[in-house]
Symmetry: C2
C-alpha cells in the first residue's frame, strides 16, 4: 500500500502538503494539487484509517452488543443501525453475547480498548458497573431495546403500553381468560410487557395467568412449553399472548396439538412482531415493532453524542417508540 510519504516523494513535496491537498484542509496551489492528485491516483493511494484514528482520536467506528441475530428482532435492528451508521461515515463492529454476562463482559472489554467511538447495547443487565464506567470515562453509550440505566440514553419500544393494549384488544374480541408467555422477568422488556399486561388485566377485572419455563426464552420451544402448560392448567383459556414471535409459533403448535381451533376457540398474538407473523399459514396478529427505524434513530443518537464530544453537557435522551397493532387471522 502506498503511503503519504510515497506520494510526497513522487510528487516532490512534503507529506504535510499532500495531506493538506488530499483533505482539502487548507489552500494548496492548484498546480501542486493537480500533481498530487495525479500521483495519488497513479499509486493507488488510500489513507490509512488506523493512522488517522490514532492521530485524530476518532475511529469512526461504533460497537454494537446484542444477544443474538438469528431469527431475532435484533437482526433487523442491527441492519438499521449499520445502514445509518454507514451513511454517517461510521463502521459497525458487532458482538453477539447469547445473553451470557461473561461473553458480554468480554465484548465490552474489547470495545473499551480504544476500539470504538461509542457503544450500542442490548445488555444482560449484569455488567452495569462496567457500562457505567465506560460511559463515565467519556465513551457515549446508547441502550437499545433494553433500558437498564436511567443515566444512559436509550431507544426502546413502549413495551408496557404494548402489553396493555394487547389485552384490551383481546378483551374486545371477547376473550376473558388471557394467558401470558413472557419469562426473563429480570429483563426490562419482558418485565414491562408483564406490567402492562397486569395493568390491563386488573382494569378489566380478569385473572392473570403467567407461564414460565426454564429453556431459552426467545424460542419456539419456550412458547410451546408455556402454552402447553397454560392449556392444561387453565381450562377456560381463550387467548395466549406471546412476548415474541418465536414463542407465538410455539404456542400455535401447542394449541393445534391440543386440538383447538385458532382463532375460534383460542386466540394468539405476539407482542414483538417482526414481519414473520404476516407470512404464517395462520397469519398471526402482532404488535409490530419498528425495528429498522429504531436502529436508525439509535445510530443517529449515538453518533450525535460522539460528535458533541465533551463540549456540551451530557443529558441522557430516552426515546420510546410505540408498537403498532397489526390484526391478522389468529385473533
Amino acid at each position: 500500500m502506498a503511503t503519504l510519504k510515497d506520494v510526497a516523494r513522487a510528487a516532490n513535496v512534503d507529506v504535510s502538503t499532500v495531506s493538506r491537498a488530499l483533505n482539502n484542509t487548507s489552500h494548496v496551489h492548484p498546480d501542486t494539487k493537480a500533481r498530487i492528485y495525479a500521483v495519488a491516483e497513479a499509486l493507488g493511494y488510500r489513507p490509512n484509517f488506523i493512522a488517522q484514528a490514532l492521530r485524530q482520536g476518532r475511529r469512526y467506528t461504533i460497537g454494537v452488543v446484542v444477544p443474538r441475530l438469528h431469527l431475532a428482532i435484533f437482526s433487523e435492528i442491527v441492519q438499521g443501525i449499520e445502514a445509518e451508521a454507514r451513511k454517517l461515515g461510521y463502521s459497525t463492529i458487532i458482538c453477539t453475547t447469547e445473553d451470557d454476562p461473561k461473553v458480554e463482559l468480554d465484548c465490552l472489554n474489547r470495545l473499551r480498548n480504544g476500539f470504538v467511538d461509542g457503544i450500542m447495547i442490548a445488555g444482560t443487565g449484569r455488567n452495569s458497573r462496567i457500562l457505567r464506567d465506560l460511559h463515565a470515562s467519556g465513551i457515549p453509550v446508547v441502550q437499545i431495546m433494553r433500558k437498564q440505566e436511567p443515566r444512559i440514553s436509550s431507544v426502546v419500544a413502549d413495551f408496557e403500553a404494548c402489553g396493555e393494549e394487547a389485552v384490551h384488544y383481546l378483551y374486545q374480541q371477547g376473550c376473558r381468560t388471557i394467558g401470558l408467555i413472557s419469562g426473563s422477568l429480570h429483563l426490562a422488556p419482558y418485565q414491562e410487557r408483564y406490567r402492562g399486561y397486569c395493568t390491563a388485566i386488573q382494569a378489566l377485572a380478569l385473572t392473570p395467568h403467567l407461564s414460565e419455563a426454564t429453556t431459552t426464552v426467545n424460542s419456539f420451544e419456550y412458547g410451546y412449553l408455556c402454552a402447553s402448560q397454560l392449556l392444561t392448567s387453565v381450562s377456560t383459556l381463550d387467548a395466549i399472548l406471546a412476548a415474541v414471535d418465536l414463542q407465538g409459533l410455539g404456542a400455535i403448535r401447542a394449541v393445534t396439538e391440543h386440538g383447538l381451533k385458532i382463532p375460534q376457540q383460542i386466540k394468539i398474538m405476539s407482542l414483538t412482531g417482526h414481519e414473520l407473523g404476516s407470512m404464517l399459514e395462520t397469519p398471526m396478529t402482532s404488535m409490530e415493532m419498528p425495528a429498522h427505524q429504531m436502529g436508525h434513530k439509535a445510530a443517529q443518537m449515538l453518533i450525535e453524542e460522539i460528535q458533541a464530544g465533551k463540549q456540551t453537557q451530557f443529558v441522557p435522551q430516552h426515546l420510546s417508540f410505540p408498537m403498532v397493532l397489526v390484526e391478522r387471522e389468529s385473533t
Copy 2:
C-alpha cells in the same frame, strides 16, 4: 484514559519496560514487574488497540459483507463467524449491502483502507475487480455462501447436490411434476440449485418447471408470486421446491389459497432451511444448511490466511458443506 507513559512515570521506569512487563515479551525483574502491574491496575490502564494496530500492522479485525441479516440465513452465518472470530481474538465489522453493487463497493472501499486484516464476503458478483485487487494487494478474502472467484478461498454449501437430492426425494414420494422457485440465476447458489434440479429432472425423464418473478428474491412475496404462477400454469403440479425458507412460506400461502392440501395434493420443500421450517404449522421439509458451522469454518479459514501472512505461498481453499434433508410434514 491512562497511557503507557502515565504508567511508566508512576512506576519510575521507561515506557519500554512497561510494555515488556505488560506483554510478557521479555524478562523484567519480578519486583519491577510487580510495581508496574500494581500501578497499571491502580491507573486502570488499558492498551490502546489502535496504537498497537498501527505499530504492529495488525488490526485483529475482520470485515464481513453480506446482503442482509433480517430473516435470512446470513444472520446465522454471521453469528457463527463472529463467535469464532472473537474466540480467536478478532473483532468483526459488519456491512449489509441489500445486494446493491454500489453499496457493496462503498463497503469494500471502506474496508480496504487499512481497517481490517481480512474480508469475508457474500457478494453480488458485480465488484469482482475490486475484490481481486484487494486480494492481490495481500488482504486475505474468503467467499461465503456465494463462490464467484475461483482464485479466492470459499466456504459454501453444495447447492447443486442439494437441488438434485431434493428432486430425487420428491420423486420417491411420488411426485412427477416438480416446480422450482429460484430466481437470481446470476448468483451462484441459485444457479447451482437450478443446475442440480435440472440434472435430476433429466435423469428421471421429467419436465422442468422454473418460475421467476421480479420482486426481491429472498422473500415471502417472491415465493407467493412464483408458486401462484406455477399453480395456474401447470395443472399437474404436485410439488414445489423453494430456494429459501421465506419463499417456501409464500408457496404454502399460495397453495392454501388455491385450496390444495399439503402434502396430500401438493408437496412443498425448501432448499435452504434455517430452522424456521420446524416451527411452522405445517412443518416444512427442508434441506437444512449448517450455517453456524459454516460461519465458524469460514472465520477459521480467514484468520489462518491472515496469520500465515505472506510467508507461505497462497493456495485458495474451497470448502463445501453438504446440506441435510430434514423430512417434515409438508412432503
